[in-house]
């Protein structure tokens, strides 16, 4: 929103206060000023001049040679504007002057001397019009500097609308003036306006309100409006505030909206005889002023005439049918309050957002309705003296807000702000902001003014804010909180997330990905990935996907697919949320998953698998003291049916690890070998195994004994381990896998070599003890139908 300082000055004396100071204080106390424009600063020596002669240029079709009377002299000016004519009064920048920073000098245009420039409104930056030079119909003194007649010098603030969302009272200059007055301790002037009671004896208008979303609707009839065009100063003001002049009646409604924040609308009274405010019916349509047709949804407020024909969309836009035309002399002027939510929803549904709807969305004060009308008549009358009010101010007021009464004390305010703030200071600030304040002993009783009561201020804390911001946040001395010695613990889930990510990045060259939570149906389908989505988005237009993912690995496979042309080797991982279903209360079952994908053009899947397995086993052991055991079990259909395994420990089953089904990996990229791990990381990180009790090593030298066992090729090491674990001996410290050897010479078998560590508790082992151990082991192995490999 744009705020003109000249306009503000009508209501507050700002003598001695620089605009920069206003920006600084306003930013800290009220709302954000995003930009400042110094209007007219670089324009000077521009005067009113009258074209007394127009000659065609000998060399050009477009250019004319003008003789312009600027009182002190007659200037010859070459001008390219199409609208030049004799006796026209316009703005002339003299030689030595400047127009918005462009210095004017004597020049030759197509061979003819030119001493000055006739300006368009756009060139002077006082209006939109750039079709031709200014055509002034007002009575202005020739030769006079235009700045002495037109209010061109101004400072305009651009205020960030987002910072005004909760302040309906600041959507007009008067509300802004009130803030600035309080901030600088100046007095706010009253608004000059007519008294509506003067019209009480005139006939009533036919106004009916049939929608609960209309809180107040008023109309008044004004006849004999004959002036069509707004005076230049009003046009400039509208332009500086971001609007353009249209015709006098529309301009005055806009002027009131910009001044008081109350949108208004003027209907042609010959067309609209009475008003009925209703909710739109299905199929209702309205052609707007701009000539666009809008289909109205139910719950949209419609202003209809008394025959029920829609003439405006309530709070949003007027219709073409009853709009002000060249012929209009009698008008019906609306000033009304509509429900904020209803206007917002309608504006969104229709896709039409206007200066009026932006204000109604903020919950306007219904008490503004008569003020706006009274001010409207005041302003209109000052321009068009012949107007005649022809009806009573007809007002249907259905929803009145209660004015909250709040009790505070200076102690309460001081303790909440953390500064000592006196009673008198509190009262001064609140009264300045328009609150009704009464002292009652230690209590300060505050009644909220109607323009702050629609949603903004209702309780003690709201008053804390009012006082603190005017007191000045920058005047508050920072004070430490009392120290409370209390141990804090890093949430293990969050801490472990970092640990596992670091482990993957540092030890396994993993690159962390942050992907979206969506289930990529199309990608999955085209790559044979069958992954469900249990929860759908109600509106998926911005997400581009319809549902929430239930697994994390498919997202990483998509990443692999997207990067396959730039990288031949990829290790990616993510910790992310998925929804694996819906519980009995219809709530999402959300899991925090860890997925890791290794893809390589050079390493085979078995090598990749071993590395990935090493990661999860070593991580779980190092960080969580969990002993990971892979088991046969469930796996997604997009994984290898035989080379995918459950990742488990005694404490739980966490997920799977395995080779991607070749069907899937081929469809992603023929060259890539891909392995995948996906585990429930929330579950795993909540578990904690226990480190085994340590054994004090024997002090006598131990002996290593290698034993090779021949087993069938398809037998797992784990199966042999189970057999070996059943053989016990006092001198056995333990054994480790040393080697697995496969060869055709072994005829369908493989040789597994384990290395035993043997040691005596209280003596060095004798050869006979070792022999005894070995022969016992051999017979144990043979009992289990396996044989020892002899070299």
């Amino acid at each position: 929103m744009k705020i003109s300082i000249n306009w503000i000055k009508e209501f507050v004396n700002l003598d001695g206060i620089e605009p920069e100071e206003i920006v600084k204080r306003f930013n800290l106390a009220t709302a954000e000023i995003e930009g400042v424009e110094y209007k007219g600063k670089d324009t000077y020596n521009v005067v009113f001049g009258k074209i007394i002669e127009v000659q065609n240029h000998p060399e050009s079709n477009k250019l004319h040679i003008l003789k312009v009377d600027v009182k002190s002299e007659v200037l010859q000016i070459v001008c390219g504007a199409p609208n030049v004519r004799a006796n026209m009064v316009t703005c002339v920048a003299k030689v030595g002057g400047a127009v918005c920073g462009h210095k004017i000098g004597a020049a030759k245009l197509a061979g003819i001397d030119s001493f000055g420039m006739c300006c368009s409104a756009k060139e002077l930056d006082i209006g939109e019009d750039d079709e031709g030079i200014m055509d002034i119909t007002e009575n202005v003194p020739l030769g006079e500097d235009i700045k002495n007649v037109f209010n061109i010098d101004d400072v305009v603030f651009e205020i960030d609308n987002k910072t005004l969302t909760n302040r309906p009272d600041l959507w007009g200059h008067y509300g802004m003036a009130r803030e600035i007055a309080v901030i600088f301790g100046r007095k706010l002037k009253d608004i000059k306006k007519v008294s509506l009671t003067d019209f009480d004896l005139l006939p009533k208008l036919d106004v009916k309100v049939e929608s609960k979303n209309c809180y107040r609707y008023s109309a008044i009839a004004i006849d004999n409006v004959t002036v069509k065009k707004s005076p230049m100063n009003m046009a400039i003001r509208l332009y500086y505030a971001g609007m353009r002049d249209i015709n006098l009646l529309a301009d005055v409604t806009n002027y009131i909206m910009l001044e008081l924040g109350q949108p208004m609308h003027a209907f042609d009274h010959e067309i609209v005889k009475g008003i009925k405010v209703v909710d739109a019916k299905k199929g209702d349509k309205l052609l707007t002023l701009e000539g666009e047709e809008h289909e109205l949804s139910e719950n949209t407020l419609v202003i209809a005439d008394n025959k029920g024909v829609p003439v405006a969309i309530g709070g949003i836009k007027g219709g073409m049918k009853a709009s002000i035309s060249e012929q209009t002399t009698n008008v019906l002027v609306e000033s009304a309050t509509f429900d904020s939510v209803s206007v917002r929803k309608a504006s969104r549904t229709i896709g039409l957002s206007t200066d009026a709807s932006a204000r109604y969305e903020k919950s306007l004060d219904p008490e503004l309705v008569p003020v706006a009308t009274a001010r409207f008549i005041e302003i209109l009358k000052s321009i068009d003296k012949g107007i005649k009010v022809s009806s009573k101010f007809t007002d249907v007021y259905t929803k009145k807000y209660a004015l909250p009464k709040i009790k505070i004390t200076a102690d309460f305010i001081s303790s909440r702000i953390g500064e000592n703030i006196s009673e008198s200071e509190i009262i001064k600030v609140l009264a300045g902001l328009g609150f009704d304040v009464t002292k009652n002993g230690k209590n300060i009783e505050v009644v909220v003014p109607s323009f702050r009561a629609t949603k903004d201020v209702s309780m003690e804390e709201d008053l804390v804010e009012e006082i603190a911001r005017i007191y000045g946040y920058d005047n508050i001395t920072p004070k430490p909180l009392a120290f409370e010695p209390k141990p804090t613990f890093l949430n293990t889930a969050i801490g472990e997330e970092y640990e596992v990510k670091k482990y993957l990045a540092e030890k396994y060259n993993g690159v962390e990905i942050h992907s979206y939570i969506w289930n990529y149906q199309d990608f999955n389908a085209s790559h044979f990935i069958d992954s469900k989505s249990y929860i759908k988005l109600m509106d998926s237009s911005n997400a581009g996907q319809s549902g929430i993912r239930s697994e994390l690995a498919p997202t990483l496979l998509k990443v692999i697919s997207e990067n396959r042309n730039t990288l031949s080797e990829m290790r990616v991982f993510e910790i992310g949320r998925v929804a694996t279903g819906i519980d009995e209360n219809n709530l999402a079952i959300e899991k925090k998953k860890l997925a890791v994908v290794f893809a390589s053009q050079t390493k085979d899947t078995y090598t990749l698998f071993d590395t990935l397995k090493e990661f999860i086993v070593s991580y779980a052991k190092t960080n969580l003291a969990l002993d990971i055991v892979l088991k046969e079990g469930d796996k997604p259909s997009y994984m290898h049916p035989y080379n995918t395994f459950r990742v488990t420990s005694r404490e739980g089953d966490y997920g799977y690890i395995g080779i991607l089904n070749p069907k899937v990996s081929k469809s992603i990229d023929k060259r890539l070998n891909i392995v995948v791990l996906e585990i429930d990381f929330g579950l795993m990180s909540s578990k904690h195994g226990y480190f085994k009790k340590v054994k004090v090593p024997y002090k006598y030298q131990s002996t290593n004994l290698d034993v090779s066992v021949l087993v069938p090729e398809n037998m797992n090491y784990g199966a042999l381990e189970q057999i070996l674990n059943k053989y016990r001996s006092k001198i056995m410290v333990g054994y480790v896998l040393k080697d697995i050897y496969q060869s055709e010479a072994l005829q369908g078998k493989k040789s597994i070599t384990v290395s035993y560590e043997l040691s005596g508790k209280d003596h060095t082992l004798e050869g006979s003890e070792i022999d005894e151990f070995l022969s016992g082991l051999i017979s144990h192995i043979e009992k289990n139908k396996l044989e020892i490999r002899k070299n």
Binding site: T165, Y473, T477, N491, V559, R577
Partner: protein, 343 residues
């Protein structure tokens, strides 16, 4: 004989000087000290020395022996050192300028920065909490004082789900649960991923990260909040920063503030990161709304506090120099792999 001893010593010194290798030294040793060496020869002659001269000659021979032994020892050590030196000189030299394999993976920049921020908060006595991404309407809106009519609840702003829940629109969705678990006296930080139903562009994402914190205690004031925020940002940026509060408006807090901090890049002089204002808007905050406390079962007359959010993705973009927020959620491995594990 005396003359002979003197000559032998001279002879030894000369040979010692001439010796080039350990083998030369060994030859000298044999020549003088060996079985048939000069010393033994001398010893044989010694037997014939007149008894009155024996003492003198004995001492002279012993002294010669000692001189030769010491001399030989020195000679051999010197030759060994020489040989070692020669060997080291000829050792293959290391090209210490060769690059080493530094392949490491990379953490997401958000992870790195989040860790730094968490560390700062833990040092300030905060407990860290985790939250869900799918939240109930109650947790996301009602419990944190977002009224039924608030625009944020519209379909156009929030990802509503078909089971009636939402993808959480702000980390405050976890406030109610956290205040119930940790309150009334608590300091909790909760990072989280949030979602808005928006169109994507360089500065708007539908998926982004926030970090939120709450402090609840007795008699907490705006001045406490300012003090805290200043100290906290010092911890985050690891240097002194200035802060300023401006009025803000959020349903969760009353009063609400926008907190600006001096731009960490230019130190307040003005640069492109701060649109030449010297300030960046980083931290919406405010005194927790009494309704939020009440909803969490905390007596808002006895306890109060403040809450703050960190525009975390903005911070990540400032730190990494990324100018398009979509890069953070994009899976460009080549880009992401450059972050390493520290920023």
């Amino acid at each position: 004989m005396k003359q002979k001893i003197e000559n032998l010593l001279k002879q030894f010194e000369t040979k010692k000087e001439a010796a080039k290798t350990i083998a030369d030294a060994e030859a000298i040793r044999l020549e003088f000290m060996g079985k048939k060496g000069y010393i033994n020869e001398l010893m044989a002659e010694f037997r014939n020395v007149a008894p009155e001269n024996k003492k003198e000659m004995g001492m002279l021979i012993n002294s010669l022996k000692t001189s030769i032994e010491t001399g030989l020892g020195e000679l051999i050590q010197a030759k060994k050192d020489e040989e070692l030196e020669n060997q080291l000189k000829n050792d293959k030299r290391i090209d210490y300028t060769l690059p080493v394999n530094q392949t490491i993976g990379a953490l997401h920049p958000r992870t790195i920065l989040q860790k730094q921020i968490i560390d700062a908060f833990v040092s300030m006595g905060f407990t860290i909490e985790d939250g869900n991404e799918i939240e109930t309407e109650y947790n996301n809106f009602d419990s944190v004082n977002v009224p039924e009519s608030h625009p944020a609840r519209d379909m156009q702003d929030t990802f509503w789900l078909d089971n009636g829940e939402v993808l959480k629109t702000q980390t405050s969705a976890a406030q109610n649960r956290i205040l119930k678990t940790h309150g009334p006296i608590c300091r909790v930080l909760f990072p989280g991923r949030c979602f808005r139903n928006e169109e994507l562009d360089a500065t708007h994402e539908n998926t982004f990260f926030q970090i939120e914190g709450v402090v609840v205690d007795k008699n907490v004031s705006v001045s406490n909040l300012i003090y805290f925020m200043k100290e906290m940002l010092k911890g985050v940026f690891k240097k002194d920063v200035n802060v300023r509060l401006r009025p803000g408006f959020f349903p969760f807090t009353e009063p609400s503030f926008e907190l600006d901090t001096t731009c960490p890049l230019c130190g307040g002089k003005g640069c492109s990161a701060c649109s030449h204002t010297g300030w960046i808007e980083l931290c919406p905050c405010g005194m927790i709304h009494p309704n939020v406390l009440k909803e969490a079962g905390i007596d808002s007359k006895e306890y109060n506090g403040f809450a703050f959010g960190l525009g975390f993705d903005r911070l990540v973009m400032i730190k990494t120099g990324l100018d398009d927020i979509r890069r953070l959620n994009g899976g460009n491995v080549k880009l992401l792999s450059q972050f390493g594990t520290k920023i």
